[in-house]
């Protein structure tokens, strides 16, 4: 067993410096690396580029980094649940690159899997395709999209062990597995760090080889963005 465990978020983020490109898992506020974000706020790292499907809300998730003007650029598929985001985008402080959600996932996966680029039909004939190489396969047009290059990938899992093996819960999985091993250093934070040997190898979603550092996170808030319920009849 190769031990990837670090004691806390502070140690897990060692080497993170201004101007770096980061991947962050999560969909909305679901499955976001809350501890890593909190540590980034504390260490006041600046001018970062964030590859993340969304940009949090005003006072949670990546919104916390936006409030402190720590983000230079966002690469996302859907943003704007966030007033401060809108203000910074319109004032030109924040650069935003919007890309299709499946393309975002696949550019992460390509980086993880060692593909320099992939062809996708998503966005062909739209402004997303502008300036990009296109090619026809079997009568259909595709766009060439390159793999992301990132310094750190921050993911959140439900359970993990010191070997870096991860299991995700429900839809908190989302982009997290695709970002593992897609950056130079992958940092996984888990709700529960269990003893090595206690996870069933058949049930592991991400093998530890894709993870460089793992720690047990603290105080997960797991905020619900849109609480929808039905009435008992």
């Amino acid at each position: 067993m190769i031990n990837k465990q670090v004691p806390n978020a502070k140690k897990a983020l060692k080497g993170l410096t201004d101007g770096m490109t980061l991947m962050l898992g999560g969909f909305g506020l679901c499955g976001i690396p809350e501890n890593a974000i909190a540590e980034m706020v504390a260490m006041d790292v600046k001018k970062i580029t964030c590859i993340s499907n969304n940009a949090g809300v005003d006072n949670f998730g990546l919104g916390l980094l936006l409030q402190k003007h720590q983000i230079r650029k966002m690469v996302s598929s859907y943003v704007g649940e966030n007033d401060e985001f809108e203000r910074q985008m319109l004032s030109g402080e924040l650069e935003v690159e919007l890309i299709p959600q499946g393309t975002l996932a696949e550019r992460c996966r390509a980086a993880q899997a060692g593909f320099p680029a992939i062809y996708t039909p998503a966005g062909y004939g739209t402004e997303v395709a502008e300036g990009k190489e296109t090619r026809e396969f079997d009568g259909k047009m595709y766009i060439l999209e390159t793999a992301f290059k990132a310094d750190f990938s921050f993911v959140k899992a439900w359970k993990g062990d010191a070997a870096g093996n991860l299991i995700f819960k429900a839809t908190a999985r989302n982009f997290n597995p695709n970002m593992c091993g897609a950056a130079t250093i992958t940092v996984a934070e888990v709700e529960e760090l269990v003893p090595v040997g206690s996870l069933d190898p058949n049930q592991i979603h991400i093998p530890g080889i894709f993870v460089q550092r793992i720690f047990e996170g603290k105080g997960y808030e797991k905020r619900i963005e849109k609480r929808t319920v039905r009435q008992k009849i």
Binding site: S77, E81, G102, K226
Partner: protein
């Protein structure tokens, strides 16, 4: 003329036994409520769930279980969870049989615009571009005209496109239309709506072939 629920009810009839279906936000979400109970259908949400169920009862919400609209949901028996790349493999790989989504504009050659209005805050395309670029069967659910009374079924879209030549069918408050090589083919009229009304509300080329039946909802 139909209301939003009427549109959802009519689209629900397009959902067939054995279909995996992706529902967009808005009117499409309502479709799940009106699908025939006698058929086997699974709803996919692109954030990573197949076999999506209704909203949870109060107190049973799970922050880790949401749909693509970020609403809390439940799952049904036989459900599964997966990562985003796998989710879009289902979509791009044509394993999802039907995609239902809303639109701001559709052109008579099947182009769709539903993600950006220049001059307004742009929130992004989310999964819409992946869905429209790949799905074999795309039904657009929308009102026939915008709030100013202008047609949303056009010769060519004025807004930035989400996808080209991809829409197969449009269900509006006035009609069911098929996108054909020659234009919008009028298939059905909403109850009480005349062909003339539909013609006047359609800027794109409308093909009226013989007697057009009224929808059966």
């Amino acid at each position: 003329m139909l209301d939003k629920i009427g549109i959802a009810k009519r689209i629900a009839k397009e959902v067939k036994n054995g279909y995996y279906v992706n529902l967009g936000i808005g009117i499409p979400t309502l479709v799940a409520n009106y699908v025939c109970k006698d058929i086997e259908v699974e709803f996919q949400s692109e954030n990573g769930v197949l076999g999506m169920g209704p909203f949870p009862f109060e107190g049973e919400e799970d922050a880790d279980l949401i749909n693509a609209g970020k609403q809390t949901i439940t799952t049904l028996e036989g459900a599964s969870f997966f990562d985003s790349a796998t989710s879009f493999s289902m979509i791009r790989g044509k394993h999802v049989q039907l995609t239902i989504l809303g639109a701001m504009e559709v052109s008579h050659n099947g182009d769709i615009a539903n993600w950006k209005i220049p001059g307004y805050m742009v929130k992004g395309m989310g999964g819409a571009m992946d869905l429209v670029a790949s799905a074999e069967n795309i039904i657009v659910a929308m009102m026939h005209t915008n709030k100013k009374g202008e047609s949303k079924l056009l010769k060519s879209c004025s807004l930035p496109l989400t996808g080209v030549g991809c829409v197969k069918r449009v269900v509006t408050n006035l009609a069911v239309l098929e996108v054909s090589i020659d234009g919008f083919k009028l298939l059905e009229r909403a109850p009480g709506v005349t062909v003339e009304t539909i013609q006047n509300a359609t800027e794109g080329h409308l093909i009226v072939d013989g007697e057009v039946p009224e929808m059966d909802i």
